[in-house]
Amino acid sequence: MNKRTKTNIILLVIVLLLIIFPFVFVHGEYGGSDDQGTEQIKKFAPHYKVWAHPIWEPPSGEIESLLFTVQGSLGTGIIAYVIGNAHGRKKALKELEHPSQKTSASAKK
């Protein structure tokens, strides 16, 4: 494993810890509705009338999570394709340039 891969793995573990940490040590409600953010506004301005509403709302929590997943997986797919493609190209180019090192390079791994 090269140094960069190692750094990336360590960074990823820190990200996971950052996300898991609140679950273990903080007992919150985690989520609820988006309306909670507007509660504070209602406290400051009780007479404020919400004058516009979303044109379309996901009919249920399931549909909403579906759409969020679609959004996330679309992005992940593109990222994985671009980086995977470049990785393969780089490897193929290396082997084209130094065909003799092919066996030694793969043996190292």
Partner: protein, 247 residues
Amino acid sequence: MQFKKILKTLLAITGAMIFFLLAFPTRVQAMHIMEGMLPPSWCINWYVISAPFFIYGLYRLQKIIQSSQKNAKVMLALCGAFVFVLSSLKLPSVTGSCSHPTGVGLGTVMFGPGVMSVIGVIVLLFQALLLAHGGLTTLGANEFSMTIIGPIVGFLVYKLCRRFKVNRSVSIFLCAMLADWSTYITTAFQLAIVFPDPHAGVMAALIKFLGIFAITQIPLAIAEGLLTVIVYNLVISNDLWKETALQ
């Protein structure tokens, strides 16, 4: 070596984070400004302020697409995809509520702050139309905080860090983290101006909104910074992009 520096920065930020947590404990969901939550005059105001940045973004986008820079279009797609992924992740935070990262740091590092205002609008529109998250009336305001202030702050931080010869990964980490954080600080300002505390005024409201938005965002901003470094490292190590490109 670079890892040690990141660790040190992290420790410092964690210290600050714990201080803030103890200072202002709140438990509210932190998100973009929801549909209809700003009065019409303010909606128009933010649209007007954001418009020139958006037009500049289009100009920059056209320049980049026409440039002979290798992989420029592919990298644009990658940066857009990164914003898509990160803004779809509602993550739990130490305040006991959830919020999501913005993902604008990666594109800012690669292309400068202009382009994100265009890419960001696509994501904001997706969420406003399909997820009832954010809104069309508040699009200008959310655009201003997430795709204009965030990237500009991130870009300045990145340039400053590079000027002072800070290690590249650390610079990117700080850029993405502060771009994320400043977005939510801006949101707090935007709400505090419109909805001041009826008894204590704008400043009191600002502190309250900062407690809601900025505090929840601290660990998420750190996570976003680290994720941005990972993706950028992968991009560089696979010869997709050179750091000196377009800069």
